[in-house]
């Protein structure tokens, strides 16, 4: 197990890139079908009142 851990510097650089790639993907518009699916779920399986009724 010699020197298998990247340095802090490299780690930070890699992680900054990872965050960028991830947030770029998360900024994309969601497909329309998700909205349709959620609407459908709301109708067929309405949320239960979990103690916070009205």
């Amino acid at each position: 197990m010699t020197k298998n851990e990247p340095s802090e510097k490299v780690k930070e650089l890699i992680d900054a890139n990872l965050r960028r790639v991830f947030s770029e993907a998360a900024e994309e518009d969601l497909p329309e079908r998700f909205r349709d699916l959620l609407a459908q779920l709301k109708e067929t399986q309405p949320p239960q009142d979990s103690g916070q009724e009205q």
Binding site: R19, V21, P31, L41
Partner: protein, 186 residues
């Protein structure tokens, strides 16, 4: 603030991150969308099992990764679905354009084994702790640490980041970050 939302509404706020996680696992947007769709249905149906006050994102990510691995087992499809990015080679020379640098980084990332991609997205990009990631993946903390280290190491090699020298602005990874930061107005 999402803490006070009813779970069904909070769920919706996590979808962009959930989809980004799915894309990094599958490397294919349409497969990712199918997986997110399955996850939405499962989460909605079992929303009563979610414990309010705990981390819903972790809960959703866990459902999604379980879906991913069980689909993979079923189809025995190792890496069949690829957007065509994986085989693409990294540019010979670092490009001057930061967007290209980030593309290179993505390609390099996509060549990593799935366990390393998953780990790096959880601990490197999403801010989960090693302990949380270990719980989500059902493995030991040491396993997560070693996957993260191997993944970062491999990426630094692919991106030609010199471990010993100072970070030069010509490094691909540096350029990618610099360029992307200058593009956003904070």
């Amino acid at each position: 603030m999402t803490a006070d939302l009813p779970p069904e509404e909070e769920l919706v706020t996590h979808l962009p991150a959930l989809r980004a996680f799915a894309i990094s696992l599958t490397r294919n947007k349409s497969t990712a969308d199918d997986m997110v769709q399955d996850t939405i249905v499962k989460a909605w149906t079992h929303i009563g099992k979610f414990q309010p006050g705990t981390n819903m994102r972790a809960w959703l990510f866990t459902i999604l990764r379980n879906t991913f691995y069980s689909d993979r087992r079923k189809s025995r499809r190792e890496v069949a679905d690829i957007d065509g990015v994986i085989t693409a080679k990294l540019a010979e020379k670092p490009a001057h354009d930061g967007r290209l640098q980030l593309q290179d980084f993505k390609r390099a990332f996509d060549t990593l084994p799935v366990e390393q991609r998953e780990t790096l997205i959880l601990v490197g990009a999403s801010g989960f702790s090693y302990e949380e990631a270990a719980k989500m993946c059902g493995v030991a903390v040491g396993t997560i640490k070693s996957r993260a280290n191997r993944g970062r190491k491999r990426l630094s090699e692919l991106m030609h980041i010199d471990e010993d020298g100072p970070v030069e602005l010509t490094d691909r990874a540096t350029m990618a970050v610099v360029a992307s930061n200058s593009g956003t107005s904070f």
